[in-house]
Point group: C2
Chain length 391, copies 2
Amino acid sequence: MASGPRKKYLLAPGPTPVPAEVLLRMAAPTIHHRTPEFEAIVATVRDQLKQVWQTSQDVVTLASSGTGAMEASIVNTLSPGDAILCVNGGKFGERWMKMGKTFGLNVEELKVEWGKAVDPAAIEAALKKRPEIRAVLVQASETSTTVLHPVEQIASVTRARDTLLMVDGITAVGVTDMPMDRWGIDVLVSGSQKAFMLPPGLAFIAFSERAWKATESAKLPRFYFDLRRERDNLHKNTTAYTPAINLIYGLNQALDMILAEGLPNLFARFARLGDAMRAGVRAMGLELVAPDAPSPAVTGVFTPAGIDSGALQKYLRNQLGVEVAGGQDQFKGKILRLAHLGFSDTFDIVTCIAALEFGLAKFQHDVPFGRGVGAAQAVLATGLPAAVAKS
Amino acid sequence: MASGPRKKYLLAPGPTPVPAEVLLRMAAPTIHHRTPEFEAIVATVRDQLKQVWQTSQDVVTLASSGTGAMEASIVNTLSPGDAILCVNGGKFGERWMKMGKTFGLNVEELKVEWGKAVDPAAIEAALKKRPEIRAVLVQASETSTTVLHPVEQIASVTRARDTLLMVDGITAVGVTDMPMDRWGIDVLVSGSQKAFMLPPGLAFIAFSERAWKATESAKLPRFYFDLRRERDNLHKNTTAYTPAINLIYGLNQALDMILAEGLPNLFARFARLGDAMRAGVRAMGLELVAPDAPSPAVTGVFTPAGIDSGALQKYLRNQLGVEVAGGQDQFKGKILRLAHLGFSDTFDIVTCIAALEFGLAKFQHDVPFGRGVGAAQAVLATGLPAAVAKS
């Protein structure tokens, strides 16, 4: 304790900080889930999620991590041997591929350079070449490379075809505008520990009309993740299996907060925080991982030559209490990932950039203190209201 | 909610932020106080407080604000008509005076310019002139003017005389070295909502041997604040009246954390945070209120000409969620007071200085973003360990 940090700052792209209001709500006594009391909460949350998904369809809440909802996307809509196209531009794109292969699908890979967004024309070309492809699977925000893929444009390709678009929106829903119905997304999934300001443990999934139709002919076996059963229960304001009761309390509280802020304000906040974070790291002379298509949820930055990003990450964690993410696979040791989603605001960016300045100084990298912070502040200040001279 | 701040930062000199560990400990079920279970907690806390007070005497815990402990100092040791010398260099010095007059004491005022520390020679001169003065009453840290008075030197004057030294250590005990026994302080009081990382509601008071002796002849009436009764009970690991049970749980937890860090580390931390805060505001071109004798708990700073500190304070609170204190009386509208005690560390200083930069910019005061923050960071960095190159 003597020399360690006293406060902890969660600035990784999930889990993200949980507000006290949500923690307190989750601390309420666990009630039984087959009661009118709990069903009223389920009904409220069901309506709230539809607003966030911007859909008239049901949004099903699962007791699982986001990966569970990814699996539910596949097993509910496809049959063994079906061809799918996976956009593989990072660790989570890879996960779609592994999952497809595990379930015996015919997986076509669309490889994308790490740090770049997929070109919708490449998707269109692949679908023209193989019209039998039943689904395109992509991340909205590829958290491993901090890239935002152009979902709207991809949807304009898939919705004109008999091809489902399945979007892993785990670090995108509630972060940036992703109007499911308007764009024509067929499957949109997310998880509780990202924009939803909750601990991990819940996943969310919505299907378009044609995705629901696909469930009727899909032959892949599913039991826990059978969404038809969940939908039937949802219409009775309940769940097929035991729900994560206290997380659902917290979800209700978090959605109250999200909807009180309003989606446009929420999206503008994360856009501004992302702009500020990128301005801060650029002012420090650091190179962005995804300068052309940056995620609004997380900023990737290359550490200077000679500084192992893993060592820097550990310094920030152990000496400053600041938890950021490092890089994976080809980015291991090379990048840091700095989050700005969920319960994140002005001083989280200031803290993150200041922490980076402290860390780089301790690794003998010469950046004047305050240069990155000042550049971030200049952007953050644009989001602050003017002062009224008289109090 | 749309435009307001989402997070709140308590950077005023009390109440100070309460760590989650303390909040959770206080959330335990309230037990009865006349039980072996609660008495064990009282016994532990009694020993812990003696370590913090650096005394072999008892430290009594009262269910009151700090003002209650100030009153207990007077009513337990003095009699109507007794002469006392009050160091009046701020709002809390004034309080000693008002209290003395309320209880019919013969109050001699030693006026000190706001922002300056008292000169121990002036105290010595006053005591030489009026040897009948029974007690000298002073603040260690005068929170209203952000001054640290020289308690050690004052004690060297009083301990050679038949004069008690009563020290309001409300924002000093647990912040800076104040060894009661070694220096010869006769009465040392504090409150829970400062260095003790607790909500308000508890006050602490310790008497020297000769202060306890004075209780025998003191004629001022006292009942709730009768410390002899409290001491008798304390030796039976209980309290005279109903204790603030859950606050005592929290106190136990907070003292565990304080003693695990160790007093020398704790004092060094606040000294460094204060140095950084002062470096930050000076780099912004702002003038310190108490440059010669700055409190290690709180930094006072004059706002630039034309900027009402109350308006700036409200901007920080309402637009940034940052709670700092303004000025009182002659300092009203002129100063801000920025705290660095209790559950305070590196990024609280960064946040506070960044908030000031945002606020001043919005009041059209031209300071480049990052200048103050950078100067504070340069000081804060000295307290951070070196990086080990390999993770």
